[in-house]
Symmetry: C2
Subunit: 435 residues, 2 copies
């Protein structure tokens, strides 16, 4: 294999800002043909329900089933998948599920209210959604850890019914995914996928309940369908390729850092691994480690493409500058592989998840640290958060005026409503003013 050339940047170079923009540029391809296909599927499923879902599933997943009932997994199938796992895997999955549950319990929002002097009560009532839909990709990209990460927060939130969909192309069923579903408490599971599964969850069919929110990753058809039904149901963000940014002071074993970069790169040829250091020599050492370790990797081809096309080794002046560059990137994963990560933390404004210290490999967070591995990508950490319990809860404002409070505030509302020429508003408020 040819030597991998990873892009080198230096914050002192004149065109650093432009080069960084170029490195980060990512356009999710919006495809007219895909849009058209997805629109048609959505309309068909909305109109014909189960029949359309069965038809599309037979066509796209090369199956031959007669009814939706044949596509539902029973609870005992899920449980059997869990019971049949090798003990080591079942134990690891169980530990991971427990840690994810423990962490997410702390995210649960609670209702609150307060009373004003005149007896007026204000607050917010926090309630779970009724039903949530979890999309799990089929085939190779089908990860049991993702089932845990998407299902457990919904459960902790108190969602009444959690419905999982996972396609089974050519009838291939991923037993690890079913096992994770059993462990995470999925209520119903269907062997369907693609835009037809998203449509079924968004609109409901005779067999598949209409949900309030759809979460989980998928291919371009799934992402396009999710974007299209956004508003009819809630959705999580539409994820881009995975990214890691490592900030290192040059004192971590360069092999560790190379492998941490690989652990993102192996996801996807478009994945983006970036290393920032104030130590130029260390960047060279990591480049050497990359050369040395790459041929030993099972996914060498994918990692090589990601490194060649999307990676960078960036030299900065000091760690403060590294933090500033981080804030510009707003990465999905940030490793602070430095002596004193707590000192650097206050300078970090934007990142999906922050892995602090040399021992905290990002890969630990993917599976069993506790926090969610569904994180904002492509710089969206500027304005979005890890998937969490809060994604399955919603709030209702509470307002209960006392007679005195309504009278006082009725006067204020009346002035403002008349200022906006909304006289029904004004008169409605004025009725509550004491004579």
């Amino acid at each position: 294999m040819a030597k991998i050339e990873v892009l080198r940047l230096d914050s002192q170079q004149d065109d650093f800002s432009e080069q960084l923009d170029k490195l980060l540029a990512w356009e999710s391809v919006s495809n007219k043909e895909v849009n058209q296909v997805v629109d048609e599927i959505l309309q068909r499923v909305k109109a014909d329900g189960d029949a359309a879902v069965v038809e599309y599933t037979n066509r796209f997943d090369r199956l031959n089933v007669a009814s939706m009932a044949e596509l539902e997994f029973s609870q005992s199938e899920l449980q059997h998948a869990l019971d049949s796992l090798p003990e080591e895997q079942r134990e690891a999955l169980t530990i991971a599920a427990q840690r994810v549950r423990d962490y997410h319990e702390r995210q649960k929002g609670e209702s609150w209210q307060y009373q004003e002097a005149d007896g007026t009560l204000l607050g917010q009532k926090v309630t779970p959604m009724d039903k949530a839909g979890l999309y799990v990709p089929g085939g190779k990209a089908s990860y049991p850890s993702s089932v845990l990460m998407n299902a457990i927060p919904a459960h902790v939130a108190g969602v009444e019914e959690l419905i999982m969909v996972v396609p089974t192309p050519d009838g291939e069923v991923n037993q690890l995914v079913l096992a994770a579903a059993a462990l995470a408490g999925v209520d119903r599971a269907f062997g369907i996928g693609g835009a037809q599964a998203v449509a079924a969850l968004a609109y409901g069919t005779k067999t598949i309940p209409r949900v309030d929110k759809i979460v989980g990753p998928g291919n371009i058809f799934v992402a396009t369908a999710k974007r299209a039904v956004y508003g009819t149901v809630g959705i999580d963000m539409i994820a881009g390729p995975s990214e890691i940014l490592v900030i290192c002071d040059g004192q971590t074993d360069p092999d560790w850092i190379a492998m941490d970069l690989f652990s993102q790169a192996e996801h996807d040829e478009d994945a983006q691994p970036i290393l920032i250091s104030n130590d130029a020599e260390f960047l060279d050492q990591v480049a050497v480690s990359i050369e040395k370790l790459l041929p030993t990797m099972e996914r060498e081809a994918i990692i090589s493409r990601s490194l060649a096309d999307r990676a960078a080794l960036i030299k900065v002046t000091d760690l403060e500058e590294a933090a500033r560059v981080n804030n510009r990137i707003a990465p999905e994963h940030l490793e602070l592989s430095v002596a004193d990560p707590q000192a650097l933390l206050p300078l970090i404004k934007h990142a999906g998840a922050i892995f602090m210290g040399r021992y905290t490999a990002e890969a630990l967070g993917d599976y069993c640290a506790g926090p969610n591995h569904v994180l904002p990508t492509s710089g969206t950490a500027r304005f979005s958060s890890p998937l969490g319990v809060y994604d399955f809860q919603k709030r209702s404002s509470l307002i209960m005026f006392s007679e005195d409070g309504a009278s006082e505030m009725g006067k204020v509302a009346s002035v403002l409503a008349r200022g906006e020429s909304l006289t029904a508003h004004a008169r409605s408020a004025e009725y509550r003013i004491k004579g």
Copy 2:
């Protein structure tokens, strides 16, 4: 004016469920032509920045300005607008702003963390977005109260820079909006609107900063543009027509209830006012009040259309059933105009805002109760929340493994990663296992 026939439904009628579905059906029109126009505007502004915004503004708002600088309001213009308000209005606006601020202070999310026995630290860091954009419609639908409701939560969250856009068609500037902007602490304000303003905020231009999230209502062009830039920036929900659901036990003055229904109906011909009662006679009384009061309303024409096309008076068996119907509707505004609203509250699962008791007119909540008046419409209260401080904050997961913790969890992660054939993940974790 002809007698208004408001739809009557009874939960005991055979086709109640179908009739309710029909009543609630609402499709926001997605228009191919609008999509095309908006796409073109977005591309032009992305490519040409200020020049494109100036060109579109001159064309659509019938202005004749030479540069973006001419379209910026200075802070002293905003302050002057506030100082020039009639005292009664300035005072009312100030009281409203203070109450909105007080309520929203209680919504502010805080960072948290905890330590495990082996020293491992887990948590979540909560930070504000850097910049937020606030869209304010021009002309008649331009409401100073909306400026407060959108700007104050951003401020409380700690957003560093808040940028307001408000079109000034034919040069008409709404002084109340500028005054509210001064009061709410808007940092910069531009006299631009439409898809071009959304594009400028989403992509940034030389003059207009790129923001992290765009909030605020707008017409079909604005809504389409917001949907298109969703992902590049965050957006609030795309709002449908306003709705109110009143549940009344028949003991509130029917004139009050009629006026409360009017206060939603006057917003828009598509607005949806619904009254549910267990008292058939009371429904008749409200119908009489509607007939009596309607001719006295400034916005009689709009209210009449809303009542004729979208309203309903629904008879139910008891208040428990009323709550069940509410949960099916998931209304934007819910009034519990009953003797004991606290007793009914636990049965209410979905509503944007809940107005409790006979004195709590929905109109009070629009202006000065404190809670936000930007609320989920069209049944989206099933999965979304009032606009709040949380909309301008985001979270980063914190993970810091101790040496012991990384070693233990490295083993678990290794098993799971190898189960998913992600060997770089596994090896990255295994490096941290103690020998």
